[in-house]
């Protein structure tokens, strides 16, 4: 049993909202509310869920862009809360990110070579020649010619820009890359190229990914483990193939049933969820999914189900409380 690269335990992030200056008694958005997961070395954790489920806040917590309200993140056995300034810098170097929109994430006034070299300049002290050599090597990793270093981002298509963003993330040899919707802004024929590139790089370099996307098939294809989030909580987490093929939580079932078919003849049980995701400002009592759940029981409205082991995975649902009920 290898140990996890990153362990999140009971992670919470609450944002105060309200008018008063000190928010006395004001409302709180529980964007992430008690989330635990492990990211294994060289593996991918996929996070799926709809808007407002807290997946992007989770990513920000992992990236150290937000401080958790409660809970802990351990990286390589070191709790992030205990790191000093130099420790945080080391952590930021080990964890990099690629975002959705490659038009927004690259500075239009910098040449590609400078963009890719920037993490090297901030995190390492290399002489000019070695930086240039490293940039050429990185561009090679992502399938761009060395000449690309002298050009500006606008001279590249969306898919090529995403390659540049990946090269930049790889510059300081991170152990973990957070991929927040890395292919959603790209054309269909380009998505497969980028997904393949990410897989190849993982095999070559042993890097771990936290992969966030709303395209369930892409997440299932890329991930070793999938976590399904709903209103700030993980409702189901387990091996990707099992979660995708036999979802257990009613929300996961509805989510995967709502995924579009890949063939017109694909057998499907038409399970269209009623209602919309409630406001995270006032999440429902008990199980947060109960007002929309087709299998809700009386106690779902009052008792919040814990995330309990269920065969190979963990599920937060009262349906699985009693083995005979499952």
């Amino acid at each position: 049993m290898t140990t996890a690269l990153l362990q999140a335990r009971d992670l919470r992030k609450h944002f105060p909202v309200g008018r008063s200056m000190f928010n006395r008694g004001g409302a709180v958005v529980r964007a992430v509310d008690g989330v635990s997961f492990d990211i294994m070395p060289g593996q991918t954790l996929g996070v799926v869920g709809e808007s407002g489920c807290g997946k992007t806040t989770t990513a920000k917590l992992v990236l150290c862009l937000e401080t958790p309200t409660d809970g802990s993140v351990e990286f390589d056995g070191q709790p992030l809360g205990t790191l000093d300034g130099a420790g945080v810098r080391r952590y930021r170097r080990s964890v990099q990110a690629v975002f959705q929109d490659p038009y927004a994430s690259l500075n239009p006034r910098m040449r590609v070579g400078t963009i890719v070299a920037e993490p090297l300049v901030t995190h390492e002290t290399l002489d000019r020649g070695r930086v240039d050599a490293r940039v050429a090597e990185l561009l090679g990793f992502v399938g761009l010619p060395p000449r690309a270093a002298t050009l500006f981002p606008h001279e590249f298509s969306g898919g090529q820009r995403q390659r540049i963003a990946i090269a930049r993330a790889l510059a300081v040899s991170p152990k973990l890359i957070v991929l927040d919707e890395p292919v959603s802004a790209l054309d269909v024929s380009i998505r497969a190229q980028i997904l393949n590139l990410l897989r190849d790089l993982q095999q070559q370099l042993g890097v771990s990914y936290l992969f966030i996307a709303h395209d369930l098939a892409a997440v299932a294809h890329m991930s070793h483990t999938i976590a399904v989030m709903y209103l700030g909580k993980i409702v189901e987490i387990g091996p990707a193939a099992d979660v995708a093929r036999t979802p257990k939580h009613p929300y996961t079932q509805a989510l995967f049933a709502a995924a579009l078919p890949s063939h017109p003849d694909e057998a499907r049980d038409d399970m269209v969820l009623a209602g919309e995701v409630p406001s995270p400002l006032a999440p429902p009592s008990g199980c947060r999914f109960h007002p929309r759940c087709p299998r809700a029981m009386a106690r779902c409205a009052t008792d919040e189900p814990g995330l309990r082991p269920q065969a190979d995975r963990r599920v937060a649902c009262h349906l699985y409380d009693d083995p005979s009920a499952a």
Binding site: S189, N196, P261
Partner: protein, 325 residues
Amino acid sequence: MTEPLLELRGLSTHYESARGTRVTRAVDDVSLTLERGRTLGIVGESGSGKSTLALSIMRLLPPAARIVGGEIRFEGDDLLKKSAREMRHIRGKRIAMILQDPMASLNPLFTVGDQISESLRVHEGASRSAAWSRAQSLLQAVRISAPAARMKEFPHQMSGGMRQRIVGAIAVACEPRLLIADEPTTSLDLTIQAQYLSLLRDLQRDHHLAMIFITHNLGIVARMCDAVAVMYAGRVVEAGPIRDIFNKPSHPYTRALLESVPRLTDDNHGRLPAIDGQPPDPSAPPSGCAFHPRCPQVLDKCKTQAPPAVTVAASHTARCWLHLP
């Protein structure tokens, strides 16, 4: 009643640069047929011309664009011969459209009730009160709860899914025969998308609507459409009944596109069969068949001569030299 509802014959729409020196063939010799009550999917990547095609049918093109040839026969008449005034009576009444971003199609300064009533009053001369009560029943039809209260609300008070349902209510208000939906669910969450697609299906059945679905998402096509046309660089490279296209894609681009999409049911966690290269720049498409630089089965002929549309099976055509001896 054998005549199709909509028939495009050799439609070409070009964009011209300010001095007329550069011409972009956004839609190039497109012929398509849509029967009453059926759904046609138009699939393509950015720059393939699918949205320009939709705007051409509505005759809502930007000033730089010009329809340079072809016919758009709708209910027997050529829409290209209609005056601007006649088109105004057709748009919204006979042909309606749903766009990607509901916030951009709704007016933030008017209540939802006003906006749904508007088309009824303009197109059907309904009185204010009659239009208002029809609008309220339309809100109910698009499954908005408490419609009476919602009628007096403004778009910003609603969620994205609700706004898009309002746009749907406006679209079907005057009982159009054809509904063109351009990426209608791209901005919606997955479970909300499923709700919206099932709503569109019900509206289609209740109103006997024909629909054109413009999308880059093959899953939406598989879920919603009877027939599909695949566009690449302004041309329809393959068109046919939905099952034919998914089971026996005849154009290498269609085949590659279908294979490159990861599937939930797959066990394969290896590499996806990706298409090399980039979609072409619409203002400078490659010579011959526009797909030839990316095509795995390219022939010499493909580089210089554009292939004609070849009938490969009943109402299934593909523009590819592989199907010609």
